[in-house]
Symmetry: C2
Subunit: 161 residues, 2 copies
DNA sequence: CTCCTCGGGTTGATGTGTCAACTCTCCACA
DNA sequence: TGTGGAGAGTTGACACATCAACCCGAGGAG
């Protein structure tokens, strides 16, 4: 029974190919963003969310839901981004500051987004092709759902006696 | 021409599903390793490579090729792992120390590997199913190849007239 | 033999992610 | 009125990744 939960050779191979692919792609995209535009993947993610919102302003909480980041990571990163002038915190509500994208931040995201998208297309979307890409999208959603379901089973949000 | 290099809605959706899937899966697997076995993804990667080698000993350089890490990351991480007793550096060659997996390291990887593989199976391999998994493996290799080709075009390792 | 260069490996500074503990305001309830 | 809880956000300590600079021993050219 050495096969129990283990992966067989084909599975192992596909899984490792996948891991290598993701790392290679991620590294490539990140280096590009960093070297050409001085933005990290994290910066990019925040700026995309802010720039896609109606008003260019969101609460950290909303950004957290959108990005799935931990709140402390969010707080640290927003502080750093503020120091670099990409965003600004405005104390409208005397409790929950609003995160506002600055002109500089907007300029940065507008400058790098097309090039970034082009790379995603060239190295990912186009290699998959539309059909397989659609399948990947579906499977991805299934996996997320599976994991979420499992996590709720492990630690249910609210349990009553 | 607003569509130029941009992703259209379907592409965008699939790409973002993919990103969310990867992050969710990675987070889940890493938390599991960390909480149940006290190993990070990086620890795991090093220990897998060492334990799969014939002798349980490799040079940092080889580990670097296997993992695709930067040499400084490797050096830092190996130092930390040595401090924790998972590996040992032996100065056989008076210049390039060999990295040896300790009994403790071997015990750790043997303890966590089945559970880890089971999770990979449950949340990734089984959701894909064998056919789509095979396709993913192929596409992954293609993507890696595409990126490698592009990088060599950018900065060729050796060019002669 | 001497000098140079090359490449594996190390180091330190800095930016980033995570955990746990904390603050602060609002609100429910007594 | 005040007391306690809940939730958003912050902070500090620590682990980790990256970059650039450095160390050092081998191998080649003079």
């Amino acid at each position: 029974m050495s096969k129990g939960p283990w992966l067989d050779d084909d599975e192992q191979k596909a899984w490792r190919s996948y891991l290598l692919m993701h790392r290679t792609l991620e590294t490539h995209l990140e280096r590009h963003l960093q070297r050409e535009f001085g933005l990290s993947k994290s910066d990019f993610e925040i700026l995309v969310n802010l720039s896609e919102s109606e008003t260019g302003r969101m609460r950290a909480f909303e950004l957290g839901k959108a990005t799935q980041w931990e709140k402390s990571r969010m707080s640290h990163h927003l502080s750093r981004m503020e120091k670099r002038g990409l965003i600004r915190k405005e104390a409208c509500d005397a409790r929950y500051p609003e995160i506002v994208i600055t002109d500089e931040g907007l300029a940065a995201i507008k400058a790098c987004a097309p090039a970034h998208a082009a790379r995603v297309r060239k190295f990912f979307v186009d290699v998959f092709g539309p059909d397989r890409m659609a399948v990947l999208g579906e499977v991805s959603d299934e996996i997320v759902e599976t994991i979420e379901k499992h996590r709720h089973a492990d630690c249910p949000p609210e349990v009553s006696g």
